[in-house]
Amino acid sequence: MTDLLYTDVEESLRSSIRSTLQRSLDEGLPARLADEPETDVSGLWRTLTQQLGLAGLLVPESLGGAGASAREAAVVLEELGRAVAPTPFLTSAVIATTVLLVAGDEENLPALASGERTATLVLPWTARRGAWTPVHGSAEPVAGALGADLFLVPIPGEAGGTSLRAYGRDEVELEPITSLDMTRPLARVTLTGAGTEIVSGASADDAVDAALAAGAALLASEQLGLAQWCLETTVQYAGTRTQFARPIGSFQAIKHRLADLYLLLVGTQAAARQAAGTLADGGDAHELSIAQATAQAFCSDAAVHAAEEALQLHGGIGMTWEAPVHTRLKRAKADQLALGTPDRHRSDLAQLVHLPAS
């Protein structure tokens, strides 16, 4: 059975990231990005990369990375999710990095591992394993494209299969899209150059599928961290906000909702750890897929519910631009739609566990 707990090493990684984020991320930044989308946020990523080596976490040491596993990457995502930090960790250090690792490309990985460059997989952000099509000329909405240096694009190959190609910044045109979640802004990516082929055919498909699966598996941990922030912040608020001469958290109407939310997060944490743990263990592919689809089907909705509960239980304050709750709601809702909606992951599960629709 996969270890669903956290190791001491993982806990210490968590506290390093949390304290770095507390120092380096202005709490008002996530909301400000809606008004000032041009804000340069690369400094935060540089800090996380230079001080903690996050960019190369999943890259082997021989290629300049840390050689860590999906378990550590999951802990990083929990912390980034809590803070809705605008960083390319998921899109570059997890998804694009997995594309290159599985494709066997060693040329681009050292620059990604050092944080010198960032990359993204150019597919609609709703794509999931086994449910994407090669890009014809342009794709949208693509996450992690704005600010990226390297664009990994599966396009139709000449022989009929997929050609997975790398494009430089000067070989694509980017149009920013006003996004529901401006902390992970989306863009339309149009290919203007020829790019360089990395792999083709089944190897290209495998690399893209593996990257989308890893992204879905670890997105669950981002959702977990975000949901935990919602619960903790709301518990704190309910313990201090007074009405009818009592803290509102002493009313059962509030207590029971927060207890239910806690229960939901107990499940979210287990599902997210199972997805991360099985991905790190690299065991049976079928079990891996079940864990990923289960985690996405569950954690996506859980994070949205956590953010919605946080908003309601904060009352009018929660509805304001000034309070940070809306930044979590926007990320949670966008995450729910990203890398496959819960409904689509349930459809995948129906196949995986032999519960056919008809």
Binding site: R246, S250, K255, A259, Y262, L263, A270, R273, V353, H354
Partner: protein, 389 residues
């Protein structure tokens, strides 16, 4: 081969699991320290981590060895044993732990009363000292299995002049005492799994007291935390109600509709996630005693058992309209999965009431796990005898 595996091999070699009487086999398992490996030596254990019991159980299962009858003796195995270990005297532990594990002693729980349900600390059953004995008078209710029990764990009031939580004491009671009368209580399934128990001048020796006089609430809390683990645990994918539904789905295409498919998958995911959460809780409990976090698992289990068993009726409506048998019986053991779908649907309704209602579980989580401020309690700090009732 680890020491633990060697011990299991030795047990199996000296007591052929296929021919040894179950009680004898279980007694030998206890003597070998393989009953609860996290208990101390001489008390059914080896002072190992709690989680290593899984290794033992897997090996014994593979050898088709007799297992303790958990359904019949859930109170003894799941609650009395850990409570006796934590608070019982050496003599009580020696007298009961082995026979309880061998299921030659069946136990029940005398906690709830007509006036003390969710507010368990309001128990009014009195225990009055008389020489080296206590005389017990009162009424208990919802006592599962009292009709077949040899012993009971009892929570009684020993001091009414202090606030309610401070005036209770915990005892082991012999159900054969002439002062104890058990009357069946029929429930919505038609069966009488539980009973009313009347205690009229029942006598308990002071040596059967568990913990100090006035410490009953702390002792009972240990029992209840273990109860919630016992109720909340489950290991295999698709175990429980969901497994019955998925089996039907896979073998009978006539039940498949788009609406039920969507619902089936939702329950599949929820029950799978609860299974993983149970596994995660088990991993974190391996070293220590269960805390209030186990309340969360009970909540999830109750909710899902109720919803999935109700869904099962809709999935096969013609069958759902029937019922296996309304004849009143007092079954030897409780069953969540037995009989027909109608029984399972009705029995599951108790899951959110027995062992602490889901509403009380939510209070426990909110106050003891999340640290939210306590509710307004008019009986706080007031002597039990002065609390309006």
């Amino acid at each position: 081969m680890t020491d633990l595996q060697q011990r299991v091999e030795q047990l199996l070699a000296s007591h052929d699991p296929t021919t040894t009487e179950p009680a004898d086999f279980l007694g030998a398992q206890f003597d070998a320290g393989l009953a609860w490996v996290h208990f101390p030596e001489g008390k059914g254990g080896l002072s190992l981590a709690r989680g290593r019991q899984l290794e033992v159980d897997a090996l014994l299962e593979a050898a088709r060895a007799p297992r303790p009858d958990v359904a019949r003796n859930s109170i003894g195995l799941g609650m009395a044993a850990p409570t006796l270990l934590a608070y019982g005297s050496e003599e009580l532990q020696q007298r009961h732990l082995r026979s309880l594990f061998a299921c030659t002693e069946i136990w029940c729980q005398l906690f709830s009363e007509p006036g003390a349900g969710s507010d368990l600390a309001a128990v009014a059953t009195r225990a009055v000292p008389d020489g080296d004995e206590w005389v017990i008078d009162g009424q208990k209710v919802w006592t599962s299995g009292a009709h077949g029990a040899d012993f009971a764990i009892l929570l009684a009031r020993t001091d009414t002049s202090v606030p309610k939580h401070a005036g209770m004491t915990y005892f082991v009671v012999d159900m054969a005492d002439p002062g104890i009368e058990v009357r069946p209580l029929r429930q919505i399934t038609g069966e009488a799994e539980f009973n009313e128990v009347f205690l009229t001048g029942a006598r308990v020796h002071d040596g059967n007291r568990v913990g100090a006089v006035g410490q009953g609430w702390a002792v009972a809390t240990t029992t209840l935390n273990n109860e919630r683990v016992a109720i909340g645990a489950g290991a295999d994918r698709e175990a429980g109600q969901i497994g019955l539904v998925t089996e039907r789905w896979r073998t009978d295409p006539s039940v498949r509709t788009p609406g039920t498919h969507a619902e089936l998958l939702r329950w599949w995911v929820e029950t799978e996630v609860t299974r993983l959460a149970g596994e995660r809780l088990r991993q974190s409990l391996e070293a220590g005693q269960p805390g209030p976090e186990s309340s969360a698992m009970k909540l999830a289990f109750a909710h899902q058992a109720q919803k999935v068993s109700g869904f099962a009726l809709e999935l096969a409506p013609e069958e759902g309209l029937t019922y296996h048998d309304w004849t009143m019986v007092s079954p030897e053991r409780g069953s969540f999965l037995g009989h027909g779908p109608g029984y399972r649907y009705l029995r599951a309704k108790g899951n959110s009431i027995e062992g602490g209602t889901s509403e009380i579980m939510r209070n426990v989580i909110a106050e003891r796990v999340l640290g939210l401020p306590p509710d307004h309690r008019p009986d706080k700090g007031i002597a039990f005898k002065d609390v309006p009732r």
